[in-house]
Amino acid sequence: MLAKLFFGYYAAVIILLSLLVVTRKNPVRSVMWMLLLFFHIASLYLFLNAEFIAAIQVIVYAGAILVLFLFVVLLLNLREELKVKRFIGSWPAGLFVSAAILAIVINVIRSFVLVAPPGRYSIEYIKEATHTKALGTILYTEYLFPFEIASLVLLIAIIGAIVLAKRKTRSH
């Protein structure tokens, strides 16, 4: 009961914040709502016994990615943003499409039943091994190769970002 209550709170706030993020005129406000949203999602992860992911969510998403967004928003100085319309002209089409898909998907999910057998990482197991250790073991054995590739992807992204955003040195 209590869990459902909490879930209800989080779900409601997450949905509300998502809506705020996509509808605010001022990008800085959007970023701030998004920050709050990330915290709620991180808390939701805690409910799902994923404390490491929750920490990562805050550190990486909130602490790094979103700061990057904020930086760009500020660098671009979007004060004139507030004077123009926030949606494109054909927004009702977008609204209709996304709402329709959502309706269908939710309708399907309602009758969704999980049939697969539970895996070996039960809550007790994780508690004993600590979440970080359990996650790390899988990551560095089974998923070592994807992990290395992910690091490479990040490296390339960093280089690419520098190249893209680098200011051309003035010729004169």
Partner: protein, 639 residues
């Protein structure tokens, strides 16, 4: 260890390295890569020769290229005696000419490009000769054609060069068209395009006929003639010979390698390779023999009066190629290949010498402006003299043995046209000797007739050029010694060696007849040399008078029987006229453009309406995509 794989792929590697790195990194050092690669190929080829002499042949697929139903093509290699001979010819000439090019092309701005193309050519040629199926052969065939086009048009900023390149390419298309159809016919008939099954089954189809253009044609004759079309084009036989003299616009090493020693002999190689098919058709063989004989006579007569040093050698090449076809036509394939093999050496040598002379004359090609170069360029003179002796059929030189073998087998062979072609061949031998020595005498003897600056500039070529000359010269003299006939106490080893592939035609004549044939050809050769000496050393006024006296003939010969003009009248101009008036004027302007303009106009009108969809806004597209997803999900889930 499939080390024979290295033979084609070393040059390919050299090509890739040069073309990718040449411009920026290798630059003046591009030749090292190519030379090392080709020399490596040569070494492996020699090793392969040793293996093959021991009786080991290879027929192996390496890699499936195309598989479509029962049509299967692979990259595969067939290495038998014929292939090995060709490998030796190709890699030897190629290696020496690569080295020669270092000196000849020195300082050219497209240095790396030249070597890249040369290596690519070598690769394609090797793929051609090593193929074990017709499609790979065709690949090599077209590849060498492409390289030939690149290299003829190497000085692409010169209009005549690029025109010559185009001409070669277009003329070859005529032949290749037939060749391509021939390959289709083979596939239709045999259901495969691999040599082995095709040749094995060929006998079974000996009496089949096929309806071709409304006529019932003997199947093997048809296939053979279609394949021969390709040969005619590539080997510059009548009537498709016109491209070869023009191809001399390319750099001289190219002329030597492609248009004398290797590529042009691909036609002969094809006929020899397909000998099982040709042998089944009397008619086809007759056509081959006559084409060869007529071409050789025809080219030799033109060669008599030309003044351009490279063109003389080019006509000589055509003539000698005719000889080879003549041999094939009378069933003496091994003799033809033998001549191919000896010819490669002395003809390459002749070209390289001509190149050396050009080098000294600063690009001058006209014989009438040379003379007396003997004392300036002793090495070139000596090697060229020996090559000419070889081509003239002077006993003891390579050319003598191969030519004699051809003539004897033509005379004695079973071919119905044997005697005729022998007679023509003998005449050609005389003419060959004559124009070859005309070239020698006009170039190296007498007084220098060029300008003073040119005389001042005369010099022997650098070592990097003369050493290949000397090496080739050894070949030009000695390469024939492997095929000394039994008559002269030799072992006719070459024919024996080729026997497993090409059979062994037996001459049906007595020893005295054989001596007679040999004597006649030798006499023809010596009289040709003698006449040339008389005309151009002793009585230099005779040629002029003769030209004046026989001005009609001279003009005819000088203008190469007006073949080019004839083609121009018959094909080129009608084609241009048609193109201009009918195709552009009517078809293009009235029909196609009406369609072309009308349809777009209609579409344009329509798309004026439709283009509104193409807003350029990312989100509109995304919305449409999402709508698509929505529809799909809806269909899938709510069905």
């Amino acid at each position: 260890m499939n080390n024979y794989l290295l033979i084609p792929f070393l040059p390919l590697a050299a090509f890739l390295i040069n073309i990718l790195l040449g411009r920026n990194f290798l630059k003046e050092k591009a030749h090292w890569v190519s030379i090392l690669a080709v020399a490596g190929s040569w070494v492996v080829a020699v090793m392969t020769l040793v293996d093959t002499m021991a009786g080991k042949t290879i027929n192996q697929d390496l890699y499936s290229w195309i598989v479509s139903g029962n049509f299967k093509v692979s990259v595969g290699f067939l290495i038998d005696q014929l292939t090995v001979v060709m490998l030796i010819v190709v890699t030897t000439c190629s290696t020496l000419i690569h080295i020669y090019s270092v000196g000849y092309m020195h300082g050219d701005k497209g240095y790396y490009r030249f070597f890249a193309y040369l290596s690519l050519f070598t690769f394609c040629m090797l793929m051609l000769v090593m193929a074990n199926n017709f499609l790979q052969l065709y690949f090599g065939w077209e590849g060498v054609g492409l390289c030939s086009y690149f290299l003829i048009g190497y000085y692409f900023d010169k209009k005549s060069a690029s025109d010559a390149g185009k001409k070669a390419f277009i003329v070859n298309r005529f032949g290749d068209f037939g060749f391509g159809i021939g390959i289709f016919m083979i596939f239709l008939t045999f259901g495969t395009i691999y040599y082995e099954p095709v040749f094995a089954q060929a006998g079974g189809f000996a009496n089949n006929t096929v309806n071709f253009l409304g006529y019932d044609v003997h199947l093997m004759t048809l296939i053979a003639l279609l394949l021969f079309c390709g040969s005619v084009g590539k080997s510059a036989q009548m009537p498709l010979h016109v491209w070869l003299p023009d191809a001399m616009e390319g750099p001289t090493p190219v002329s030597a390698l492609i248009h004398a020693a290797t590529m042009v002999t691909a036609g002969v190689f094809l006929v020899a390779r397909c000998s099982p098919i040709f042998s089944l058709s009397e008619t086809a063989l007759m056509v081959v023999a006559l084409t060869g004989a007529i071409t050789s006579l025809f080219a030799a007569t033109i060669g008599l009066v030309q003044n351009d040093i490279k063109r003389i050698i080019a006509y000589s090449t055509i003539s000698q190629l005719g000889y080879m076809f003549l041999a094939c036509g009378v069933g003496a394939y091994s003799a033809g290949v033998f001549h191919l093999y000896t010819h490669a050496f002395f003809k390459a040598l002749l070209f390289l010498c001509a190149g050396s002379v050009m080098h000294a004359m600063a690009g001058e090609l006209n014989l009438q402006k040379m003379g007396g170069l003997k004392k300036y360029m002793p090495v070139t003179y000596l090697t060229m003299l020996l090559a000419s002796l070889s081509i003239a059929g002077v006993p003891g030189f390579a050319g003598f043995f191969s030519k004699d073998e051809i003539l004897w087998l033509a005379y004695s062979g079973p071919s119905p046209v044997g005697k005729l072609v022998w007679a023509i061949g003998t005449v050609v031998a005389f003419l060959t000797a004559f124009y070859s020595f005309r070239l020698i005498f006009l170039t190296f003897h007498g007084k220098f007739r060029g300008t003073h600056e040119q005389e001042h500039h005369l010099h022997e070529s650098p070592k990097v050029m003369t050493i290949p000359l000397i090496l080739l010269c050894v070949g030009a003299i000695a390469s024939g010694w492997v095929g000394i006939p039994h008559l002269l106490g030799g072992g006719a080893h070459f024919t024996e060696f080729m026997k497993p592939v090409l059979g062994h035609p037996e001459g049906h004549g007595t020893h005295s007849e054989e001596w007679m044939v040999m004597a006649v050809s030798v006499i023809a050769g010596f009289s040709g040399i003698g006449l040339a000496a008389l005309f151009y050393l002793v009585r230099t006024d005779i040629p002029v008078k003769l030209a004046a006296g026989l001005s009609g003939v001279h003009k005819l010969l000088f203008n190469k029987y007006y073949v080019d003009e004839f083609y121009s009248f018959l094909i080129v101009r009608p084609a241009i006229w048609t193109a201009k008036n009918i195709l552009i004027g009517i078809t293009d302007a009235k029909i196609i453009e009406a369609i072309v303009n009308g349809v777009p106009k209609a579409i344009g009108g329509f798309s004026q309406v439709i283009r509104k969809v193409q807003t350029g806004f990312l989100q509109h597209y995304a919305t449409i995509m999402a709508t698509g997803i929505l529809i799909i999900i809806a269909l899938m889930l709510l069905r």
